[in-house]
Symmetry: C2
Subunit: 84 residues, 2 copies
Amino acid sequence: MDFVMVLGLLAATITTFSFFPQVLKTWQTKSAKDVSYIMLISFNTGIFLWLLYGIALKSLPIILANSVSLVFNLIILWLKIKYR
Amino acid sequence: MDFVMVLGLLAATITTFSFFPQVLKTWQTKSAKDVSYIMLISFNTGIFLWLLYGIALKSLPIILANSVSLVFNLIILWLKIKYR
């Protein structure tokens, strides 16, 4: 595995799991009023399209990174609706 | 340009510009206490690595999407520090 591949996998892992602390924070504080609805809805839509793109390309890294990111971001959206 | 390419470009455009409403909201409400610091710092780090990955691959879509996302997310982080 070359350096560029490692760089890409590292980038994908970090951006994907960066949403976990936000899930945790929102769940603990029971508040997400400062998080934009338009951001969450458009970001979830965009990640879903990335997932379809990964499926079309049969690219496992794109599929994995975006399914996990989609789950985290749907949870953040759900928590925001729940605690509004 | 084929359908898969259009799908990828659409996904990149939507995820990139989804951060703009968050910038606007934080700037208007002068509050980002519900936005996680760990999320912002790790997400900015991840996007920066995506940018390096794009430069290594000489991929203009990856470079463009991630430079714009990085600018938006650095502004969100800066606003969060400013209004803390």
